[in-house]
Symmetry: C2
Subunit: 135 residues, 2 copies
């Protein structure tokens, strides 16, 4: 059902400053950056092994990520797993009583499907599920 860790998302207050640690100091590679308007974040994608670090910088004060940063400070925000079949996974999780933030997958502009599991059901961890296009 779950194939691997797709990414670990980290909320930061300044993307350039954060890259000085993850890229300049640790020696990881910056693959690319993009603005995700639907979530009001700038994202830097930093591959590591078979996964990625995603650095999230809120671009407004209202988004979930912005409120997280204000309340808890910078740090790990969510953990994303890649799955083969997100609809089957969500159906199963619902059947066994796991609380979902998204009961049906959200479809991103790139065709990627994703959904979040509520941290209440996952030891305080915000867990994202990804089904990649063509995967």
């Amino acid at each position: 059902m779950i194939k691997k860790v797709n990414h670990i998302a980290i909320v930061v207050s300044d993307l350039d400053e954060s890259l000085r640690f993850w890229v300049d100091a640790l020696g990881l590679e910056l693959a690319h950056t993009e603005h995700v308007a639907s979530q009001a974040v700038d994202v830097a994608f930093v591959p590591v092994g078979d996964s990625k670090i995603e650095l999230l910088k809120p671009t407004d004060n209202e988004s979930g990520v912005a409120r997280y940063l204000e309340k808890r400070g910078a740090g790990m925000h969510h953990l994303c797993f890649e799955v083969d079949d997100i609809v089957a996974t969500l159906t199963h999780l619902k059947e066994v009583g796991v609380q979902l933030i998204n009961e049906a997958p959200v479809v991103g502009s790139d065709g990627r499907k994703f959904a979040f599991i509520h941290p209440k059901s996952a030891n305080g961890v915000l867990v994202e599920l990804y089904e990649l296009t063509g995967a």
Copy 2:
């Protein structure tokens, strides 16, 4: 320098209850559990792809993990990268001004070497470095 994400550590208050989510609901495999006396935690190792989830349950009230759980509740605790040469990595990080919790590697009972980077230098993330025996 950095090869991959070795594990993502999650602090939990009850190991059996946490396995009901990560193993029973998500369908991940429980590889094994062990008690790590030096850190006063019971650990459940849950492989996923090329990495692992490590569920940490404090076994006293004094350890760093126990204080984290009391202060912040369950959730992601640290992120561990596997490196080829931990001494070279720590030397480099120190040279470029990264604040280290362990300036020299700690050697575990299994010969594994590890060290922590201070969250102040890593966007609030407690980062662990591992050099595996024979790696």
